[in-house]
Symmetry: C2
Subunit: 332 residues, 2 copies
Amino acid sequence: MQMQSEQALPQGAENRLAFLSLVESDMQEVERVLTGTLREDNPLVQSVADYLLGASGKRLRPAMVILAGQFGTHRRGLTALAAAVEMIHMATLVHDDIIDHALVRRGQPAVHVRFNEQVAVLSGDFLFARAFQLFSDSGDLRVVRAAADVVHTMCTGEIAQNLDQGRVASEEGYLQRIYAKTAAFLETACRIGALGAGASPEVGDTLAAYGYALGMAFQIVDDLLDWVADPERLGKSVGEDLQEGIFTLPVIYALNNPLSRDALLAVLGAEPGPGTTDQVRTILQSSGAIDYALEKAGDYIKEALERVAALPAGAARTALESLARFVLDRDY
Amino acid sequence: MQMQSEQALPQGAENRLAFLSLVESDMQEVERVLTGTLREDNPLVQSVADYLLGASGKRLRPAMVILAGQFGTHRRGLTALAAAVEMIHMATLVHDDIIDHALVRRGQPAVHVRFNEQVAVLSGDFLFARAFQLFSDSGDLRVVRAAADVVHTMCTGEIAQNLDQGRVASEEGYLQRIYAKTAAFLETACRIGALGAGASPEVGDTLAAYGYALGMAFQIVDDLLDWVADPERLGKSVGEDLQEGIFTLPVIYALNNPLSRDALLAVLGAEPGPGTTDQVRTILQSSGAIDYALEKAGDYIKEALERVAALPAGAARTALESLARFVLDRDY
């Protein structure tokens, strides 16, 4: 149920992320660091490492490290930090796929499917270890601490969600959950980029606040796509979160709205049938729940844009602004 | 199959570890750090953390951090490092128990049994995160790097073992495997203690070499107990490793010995029956394989004792010597 937002950036997104061309050469270097770091003496372990590298995503998080690093005083070691951030992300994906019994990740069979569950558990740990080696080599303990903090935030959020499944029906609880799931990591990616590039504490805080707001909006939209997207473009079935007992923002809004509450509870309480998803969608649309969630995402994007407005103008700031607008424009 | 050596220190071991009384007050502080570090805002997460704390082992690894730290120039922060080392160990145990489908750990149902597999995967990650927070707070990047290195060594060793199951039939391959499984961590525990206490590089190397040799002997003896121990005292069934396709040192020796090779292959190639274990044991005993493994363990203990002889005499050195002798004297 914890499908992270990877699937929301399918092939078609590449054109729309063209503004990331600013960091293109750095991102090529990030790939080289990833390949170089995941070089193993044992050929069996190398086969696993190669498989992990083969499943390359859109690299949004390392790109944010690089972008944030443009506001510092130097760029030494930035690509290594970006690679380490991506490895943390890869580790959480491998472990999440075990947890979610996901069969496919980034276009290829999930690690636990290709190898086995044991290797998948160990591969995640292996990626964490490699990431913390890179973080420690950065020479900055604040970076190590930030990385450990965000892993802690993500794990505890997911443990809480697992043990409290389906019971979160408050907006506050939802916001906490998506912070732990997505926003905390984008916040940390920006902070690590800023720290790594020697940005001032104020600039670091601004960039982290941008990453936070961007992440919140990103996850709200991602959850919303569950209800409004074309399933083929989205890559997962409509209403999937709800089927798995996860209440996303529109559902929570409709449950807390006296005008839609009873109708929604009636649908959710009945035996699920082929028309259930459409019935829920109709309630979410007519109650204004979809619009409410969109508006909330818009508020976070506004907040993100306000944050970057405090940064020096230039190509990097423009890229951050474009990224924020892109999140709202997604329709898959 | 990766059952780490915890089960080899059952209740009765407490008396025999009495020489660890030197570090008793520090170890009480380690428990306080563990409890304080695993304090979580979310009550569901706290319930998991409490459960992890409830499964307290013999704390051999943190004791080695403290003992090694006695050869430094100060003891600030040593208990925090020891607690972090124990948390890394706890994380690997939680993940190993998923991998091994183990039902019980440290006297209580394994985490994946008490909660579920998802929570177990996440709990391990959570413990890694908490450990790296403590390591980063130590203010010493070398400690972070050493910890990340040993997690890498353990994971890659275990991945290799998983994908190459049963095929390691060389002594060299076996020694590599037990290094990754056990000795690397004891080596690192000693190194972290030395670094944390400001010991000289030479003293750090000596202590690490001691931990290495102790760990190699420890695992050889642990594997040997599979054949010579009283199953009730050992807590696992005799011949278990072999049943799971893992070749330990006596089996490898007997397979490489022309006098026992054919007899052993015949037994291993036949359909396993109630008498198989006894047949294998007889071959291992008569071929001298058991004695060979014992001698090999003795060589490592001799090496460990030679290492500590280079350290200043005193209670800490005596404790390290007693620990080394204890490993050879184990009969369960």
